[in-house]
Amino acid sequence: MPYRYTKLGWMVALFILLPSAAWAHTGAGAIGGFMSGFTHPLYGWDHVAAMVAVGILGAFLGRPAIWILPIVFPVVMAFGGVLGILGLPLPGIEPGIAISSIVLGSLIVLAVRPPLWIAAVLVAGFAIFHGYAHGAELPNAANPLAYSAGFVISTGLLHLFGIAIGELIRWPWGKAVARTAGGVIALTGVGFLTGVL
């Protein structure tokens, strides 16, 4: 077996040593907090749409946007989160989140390629709304640190999923798939803004 496959085999074998069936208290404490944080972004479709859109847009714009946008979003989002934790008033949170899906989805579906700084400012502006919503929910979590760790991994994976969709533009059919995904995201945003979803 080649050396790199041997290492991969070891990695898989070591992961098997962490069986969830052996966890005694799965519904509370750190594990409960982690799972709650991990599943939270997956159930909030308004957030899922925006996270995936940022990934697709980054891939659509190419380098360096492919890594700058998915990094700008969470870092600025954290500042929005701090505003939420401190309870500082910020109007139009829910409409702002819905509009983020509409704008980012529209940029993808129309294949608009704004300059990097405009894309970064747009993404950063919308990140404030998403962060505020998450920050306001964080104090209610049973274990904020575990909740945050689960939340971080889950949303990071959503960005990567978006980037993977965006990477499909290398093929002609992939461009259609990515733009269709952008259309679905924009429509989802319209649905949230109008209260249909």
Binding site: P70, G81, I85, L138, P144
Partner: protein, 161 residues
């Protein structure tokens, strides 16, 4: 969070930096776990862990090839802080042997987890120029910053003076 961030950061380094860093981490973690039996409870351990996770997350985003001394220092800090924050609760009737067994279990799982995360990050770095690792680093930074803000806010609320 610290383990994830340190694993991602070490995975961005060369094997010659990874090996001594992992070894020193395991050594410092083990020593700190044993010290929990003799030292008083470590105050504000979570605050220090959050600050360390935030710093590690920022280093992951920057994707710097850090020098060996810094990698070793960060590994020791992580091992000591995680170890001191993993005290076994003193329950009536819990023998010393059971306490040491629990501490050994903590050491094994925390070491195994960091090794796996480092290996995972090392291979993930070959994908899309290490983009995935940097994105995860950004989310760790964001998560740590938010929980840190919450922590400080709670402290200020608890002690308004």
């Amino acid at each position: 969070m610290v383990l994830l961030a340190l694993g991602l950061l070490l995975g961005q380094q060369t094997p010659s930096t990874i090996r001594p860093s992992l070894a020193l981490y395991i050594l410092s973690l083990g020593s700190a776990l044993v010290l929990t039996r003799f030292l008083p409870r470590f105050v504000q351990g979570e605050l220090n862990l959050l600050i360390l996770a935030l710093s590690l997350g920022l280093l992951v985003i920057l994707k710097l090839r850090i020098n060996l001394a810094l990698a070793l220092t960060l590994s020791i800090c992580a091992g000591v802080l995680i170890g001191l924050d993993s005290r076994v609760s003193a329950l009536p009737g819990l023998g010393a042997s059971k306490i040491y067994l629990q501490l050994a279990g903590t050491a094994v799982s925390a070491s195994l987890l960091l090794s796996l995360l480092t290996l995972f990050s090392f291979y993930l770095n070959k994908l899309l120029n290490g983009l995935a690792v940097r994105v995860l680093g950004a989310w760790i930074t964001a998560g740590s910053l938010m929980v840190l803000a919450l922590f400080i806010h709670s402290l200020i609320k608890a002690n308004p003076a």
